[in-house]
Every structure is written in C-alpha cells, then in structure tokens.
Amino acid sequence: MKSGALLAVVAAGTLVAGCAATAAEKETASASDNAVSDDRGSGKGAFPSTYQAYPSAPTAITGVTIYDGEGSRIDNGTVFMSGGKIESVSGPDTPIPADITVVDGTGKYVTPGIIDVHSHLGDYPTPSVPAHSDGNEATSPVTPNVWAEHSVWPQDPGFSRAMANGGITSLQILPGSANLFGGRSVTLKNVPARTVQKMKFPGAPYGMKMACGENPKRVYGGRNRLPSTRMGSLALNRQTWINALDYRKKRNGAKPPKRNLGMETLVGVLDGEILVHNHCYRADELNQIIDMSKEFGYKVTAFHHAIESYKIADILAEEGICSAIWADWWGFKMEAYDAIPENAALLQQAGACVIIHSDDENQIQRLNQEAAKAQADGQAMGIEISDAQAIKWITYNPAKAMGIEGMTGSLKPGKMADVVLWNGNPLSVYSRPEKVWVDGALLFDANDPKRRPVSDFELGQPGEGDVK
C-alpha cells in the first residue's frame, strides 16, 4: 500500500472536519440556552466501553520470527511486552529483564493479533436459528439509526473459535447488507464477556455500513418498494444524504431539531467521525459510490467484498480507499461472477490498500490462510508479495480501516500487546496459533486445556471445552 492512502484519508477527514469546526462553534454558542444540545443530548458517549485489560505478566518471546504487521520481518527476534503494551521488538541481542515470563519461540512465528474488518459474530451468531438472526433490520432500506452493538450476543461460540484457530484479537461487527444504510458497526476486542460493552474497543471510532448492488434491490424490490433498481438505490442514497446535510445545518442553527438517531450517524459520517464501510462488488458501482461521496463531502474508508476492485485498482489507489476482500470467493451471485483470486495482488501492485476479510464464522478462523492463498496467486502471475506484506493485509491494514491503527495492528512499542504466537509460519496450512495475548493477557494457550474460552452456550453441552 502507498503511504499516501492513509494521508488521503486524513486529508479528507480534515477537510470535512474543517466545515464541522464552524458548526461546532455554533453549537457551543447555542448550548447555553438549549439544554438538549449538551454532550448527552448528542448521543455521544452513549453505551460506553467498559473494557478493561485482563491481568498480564511481563513476557518476552525469544528466538522467534516476527512479522511486525507493517511489512517488516525480523528473524531470531524478541518481542517484549509489559503492562499490557508492546515494550520492544528487536533482534537476538536484546537483554531480557530478570523475573519475567520467557517463552521460547524457536522455530515459531509472532504476528500482531489478527484483525477482521468484516464479521457478523454476535449479530448472526451460531447456532444459526431464526431467533438469533439479528444482523439486518430489513424493514426499511435506510436504517442508519440502528447500532450493531445492540444485536451482538457475547456468548456466540464463534468468538472463541476466531481466537483459538484464527488468532483474532480485534474485529468489526457490521450490520448486514439488506439495507442501503445498514447502521453503525461496533469494533470489539475479542475477549469473552458478559456484556458487549465489556468487549467494546476503547477509543475506536464507529463505522457505518452501507450496501450497494443486488442485496438492497432484491430485498425491497421484492416487496415493490424503493429501491428495486440500482438507480433507485442511488436516488434513495442521495436523498438521504441531502436530508443529512439539511439536518446538520439545522442542528448547527439557532433552533436545533429534535434528536434523530439516524441523522446523528449520517452527520457523524459527514463530520469525518464515523467511517464508511461500503459493501459493493462491481467496479462500475464502486465508482458510482465514489462520485456520490464526493457530491456530499464524505469519505469511503473501505469497500467490502469488492470483487471487481482489480478492474479499477488505479482509481482506488488514487482515492485512498481500501478494498476488504475474500481471497477467492466467486460465483454465488451475478455481482460476484467476475471474481479472480489475483484481486489482492493486482490491488497491491497498483499501490492500493488491501484487506483480507471473512464475513464468515469459518473463514475468520483462517484469515492467515486466505492471505497466503491471495499472496500465492499473485506470485504465480509474477507479482512478488513478501510474507510480511501478506500479514499486513490482516493486521495493520484492517486496523487502519477501523481507525485503531494507533493502538493495535502492529508490533510497535507502546501499542496494545495484542500478539499471536504461531507454531509455524502462519502463511503455511500446517500452522496454528499456540498462544494469543490480548492487551498482554494470555487468553488462549494450546498447551493448557483450561486456557481457552468456553461460552455459556457451550457449557454442559457435548464437546464442552474440546479442542474444536
């Protein structure tokens, strides 16, 4: 990826935030004589994260091969974590403090915790019974008012599999794709908890799910409602943004309107505080969405499932928009017909941002393998992609798209100690996580039968605590 991609995100954010600054001043001016315009009245800070790191011991992993998440590799290295943070990442000569836990990583590999930018764990949990189907508020094509975190069931057994088999330490839970505006996403630390607030990634920005293409027009067209066509989708999208701009103007005026949950989310996007994650497959549609975002002055952070990104890899590189993609899914519907397994490699070659995502409770358990396949298919057509770069597709790049790259996603001093020790090269089919730390706390250890999460749902059921 070009470093320019990140700059483009920041620049666009600054631009929008610039408009918002004027707006904020106005709001402050009116706040004194309008009680509902205080922070609580804006909905900011509602449902706050109550996540706290679990206890950790200062730990050094020595003699290990390190992929740092930002594209670098260190052989025979040492990762030192303390107080839940990465303390240092260095070569073999690193002095190890006394009285700390030392893990011999000889022959093993370390990566940052794996991050999935597109998951429905918790809002489409297993068992996949209708009573658990909480991912699509498919009663209206425009539902920016719903929040995925209000659907997430923390007891979904999928969270534990994602950790134990996939090394997942952070993930974004999105609403489904039935709606043009699906609602807010939530970013979670992958820790077992009684409440979703206890999983919420502290300081992570919200995302907003949007969807284009076949799904919204199928769901609503089937009911003889708007949208039944792609042009209907764009019309409803644009009208919604016009309404949002109008709401923002009024909100910043002398007489702010009554709070509107959906508008608060949309204004959050316009103000650059909420990141847009847009489900969209076809190259021509990706381009339509880009033009729409320019019309209304917001930024698309990532196109999800972007099967045809490779056809406009140059445009996506220039716009600084990530493609969150599968390695090789194809053929399940018309807009997935032109999928090619070299999508990731062609994007990488063009300098565009690549993220390998799952959208699946099974493949979230092997994003490392999906990245490896995408890397291999690139190499087969002559595009060299280093192992460290392939790991970046499932660590730093998704962290960046989720706005948490300053806190996790790579092994840099001061960042959260979200770390996976693999029993071999994670890009090999023969490797699995051996230990997983979240904020320095050891939450999975393949060698300790008790150091693995077992959800309430699985307790007392056949297979409780099994290796899975």
Partner: protein, 431 residues
C-alpha cells in the same frame, strides 16, 4: 504453458475429441499414489490409452512416450471431491442456472442429475485448473426427504462429464429431513420407511401401482436403493440422528449407506465403524451451526479414522458448487491438527487419501479412480510443490490420460486487467 492453454481452449470451443491413446511419461517428480502413503522421490508415472500403466520408482519408460519433466514438482492422482454440486450451478443466485433443487417438480427420488450436469459450466473449468478431476455430484432435496439420483463426474473439458450415472440416491435425515418430512424426525423416519415399502409394493406389480404417497417413477427409483445395488447417501449430522440412521438396516438390511456431513460422528464413531458404514465428512466444521452440530470439531475426521471408520472429505452445503478447490486446503488443515495438543488429525498420506482414493473407494469406484495404481483412469495432476500447501500451484492436469486446458474466465479476466489502465483502445478489445 499459457500459449498451450489458449490453443486448447480454442479447440474446446468446437468440442474436440482429444486423443487419449498417446503414451505419456511424467518423470523426476515426487509421486504420490494416493493410497495413504507419502511421496516417492524421483518417481515416474506412465499413462497410456487413458489409464495409469505404472507409477513409482524403477519404472521403465516406453520408447514412444511423450516425456514430461516434473523435476522439483509433485505428481499425484487428481482430486476426487467427495461431495459436491459441481456442474449444477453457474451462478448460485441466478435460478435459471441453478439445477440443485427442483422445488416445483412433482418428482423426488426419480430426479436425475445426469441431465443437469453441464460440463461447460465455469466451475468445471475453475476447479479443473485447481487440480480437481472427479466429483460426486448430488441433487439437493425440495419437497421430499429424497433428492434424486446423483452421479460421479469428471471435470474434463470435453462434452461427456458423466463417469457413472445413477451412482447413488440422496436422502436428508437430519434437521433438513425433519422439515422436508413435515416437521419432525418421527415424520422423516416413518416417511422413509413408508416410501421404501411403497416401492416394494410397486416392484410386486408395477402395472397396478397406485399410491397416495409415491409416484411410480419415484418408486422405481427407490428399488435399487432397497436391494443395495445403488448407494444411499444420507445427510445426517447429530450423534443421535446417526444412530437412528444406522438402525434403518434392521428393516432394510441390504441398504448400502454412506453418511454425509456427520459433524458429530466422533461421538458415535464406534457404532459407525461397527456398522461398516463409510462417511464423507465435512472437514473443518467446528461450530454449533444448528443444534445437530453441537459437538462439531475439526478433530472429527481424525477421531473417526482412529475408531476404524472409513472416511473421506465431502463438502456438503459448503460452497459445494464452486469451491471444490478448497479440498486440498481442508486436507492440509487436518494435517495441521497433528501439531495441536489434544487434537486428532490425519497423517499427510491419510489426508491426501481423504481427497483421492478414500472417496473413490467409498463410492465404489476405487478400482478405477482416486489413485495412481496401475489400471486406474489417467487422472493426474502435476503441482509446483506440496499439493496441500497454500503456496502451491497446479502445473498440469490430465483427465483420462488427456492433458487439459487450465484456462478459464478468471484467468482471462486476470490477464485483461494485469494493468487496469486502458491502452489506445478500451479493455473490451483486449482478448
């Protein structure tokens, strides 16, 4: 290679009849026979008249043979997908191109996929290029617990995909069977027994057959199931459902059953082994997708194997029309389990057999397919490395001794967009 491929695809457009009579010697590679053993270094594989003549070390190369140097590469039998819907679907969500189920049909057991399998469907070419050469193709069920006849197919580029028509009948007897039968397992089991008994009535006097439950065509289709001349593939997942299915042989002793899916098989592995019933199992299921899968674990196949169950990998309802190419990745993951404490995996040889000889043998085709033993059909894949490893690519594919084109839509799109910026003319002129 690429040039060779384009010539082949041009030829395939006019439906050619490539010669299988040619003698081919693939030399110098690591040869995997597919019978459960590991690779043989510096081996040779000889193909003639569409069959394997010899495979291994110390093989004499016929003087007239076309020699293919596989030094540094691996040479194996083609992948045999143990359960699929390949060739029945072009685009999943486009109903007109999806022949897996027949919701509006009055028929059930008599439905026959041999008329639906399309050798020119894109998934045939895509999976062929990934080393899949044969597959079990099953219908899905619609209004009945019975789905109809399935087939064994090849993924070759010619117009004759059927290796064995009416190779098996397919039935749902787990959660899906519960819904198809009217809302309970009791309904599914009484329906199963009643339908088979009706078929027996049909057999006694076809001309006089008049049933409220079963059409004459469906009754006729169930006869070879009852007498065991056609296999019955039974989709079932939970431990209890498996036990109840195994008991069906008390009433129908000749049933030749193969269990499919079987996520909780490990819990009753001894019963499955004792019944001598083979299994085409999902490899990596490890979540309670439904209440029939509560104990699902990736160690399922390893544990069943240790208990003496004959088991191959199948992919029921797991992208089974498009992604048969996952077979090698799934098998590799079962090898990975050997390094995970308390998990049960397969050895490399067993894992490779689970996607070649084991499903072939389970479907009664072991003497013809699934390995490189002499006399087997010449389905051979040359790989750039370990076929189960993610970095490995397919180098050449032979089906019935005929080298196949590896070209497909995905490769053509890749080549068109190698550089996404159009040149002097739009991309549409680049073909």
């Amino acid at each position: 290679m690429k040039r060779f491929s384009s010539i082949l695809i041009a030829a395939s457009a006019v439906i050619s009849f490539p010669a299988a009579a040619q003698t081919v010697a693939i030399t110098g590679g690591k040869v995997v026979v597919g019978d459960g053993g590991g690779p043989i270094e510096n081996g040779t594989v000889i193909l003639r008249n569409g069959r394997v003549i010899a495979a291994g070390s110390n093989v004499t190369i016929p003087a007239n043979a076309r020699r293919i140097d596989a030094s540094g590469k691996w040479v194996t039998p083609g992948i045999f997908a143990g359960f699929s819907r390949v060739g029945l679907v072009e685009v999943g969500a486009v109903a007109q191109t999806n022949d897996t189920r027949s919701s509006g049909s009055p028929f059930s057991a008599a439905l026959d996929v041999q008329y639906a399998v399309n050798p020119f469907a894109s998934p045939m070419a895509v999976n062929r290029a990934a080393g899949v050469t044969r597959a079990v193709v099953s219908p899905s069920t619609s209004k009945s617990i019975f789905g109809g006849y399935g087939a064994i197919v090849d993924l070759g580029q010619d117009e004759r995909p059927i290796t064995k028509a009416r190779a098996f009948q397919f039935v749902e007897l787990g959660e899906t069977g519960h819904s198809r039968a009217g809302g309970s397992r009791a309904a599914a089991h009484i329906l199963f027994r009643a339908l088979l008994n009706e078929a027996r009535t049909y057999a006694r006097n076809p001309a006089a057959f008049d049933s409220d439950l079963l059409k004459a065509s469906d009754a006729k289709a169930l006869l070879p199931v009852i007498n065991g001349s056609t296999r019955l593939l039974v989709h079932v997942e939970s431990a209890n459902d498996i036990l109840k299915v195994l008991e069906l042989r008390k009433d129908f002793p000749a049933l030749k059953m193969v269990l499919v899916g079987v996520n909780e098989g490990w819990r009753v592995a001894n019963h499955i082994a004792a019944a001598g019933t083979p299994v085409l199992a999902s490899a990596l299921s490890d979540l309670p997708y439904g209440f029939e899968d509560l104990a699902a674990t990736q160690s399922n196949i390893g544990r069943m194997k240790k208990a003496g169950v004959k088991v191959g990998i199948g992919m029921i309802n797991d992208r089974d029309a498009h992604q048969l190419r996952y077979s090698v990745q799934y098998a590799g993951n079962l090898v990975a389990l050997n390094k995970v404490p308390r998990a049960s995996g397969l050895t490399w040889g067993e894992a490779f057999a689970a996607i070649t000889s084991q499903p072939a043998e389970i479907m009664g085709m072991g003497a013809q397919l699934g390995s490189l033993k002499p006399g087997r059909r010449g389905d051979v894949v040359v790989w750039t490395g370990d076929p189960l490893e993610l970095s490995t690519q397919v180098d050449r594919v032979f089906i019935d001794g005929v080298e196949q084109s590896l070209s497909n839509r995905q490769q053509r799109l890749r080549d068109r967009y190698r550089n996404p910026t159009p040149g002097a003319l739009p991309k549409a002129y680049d073909f």
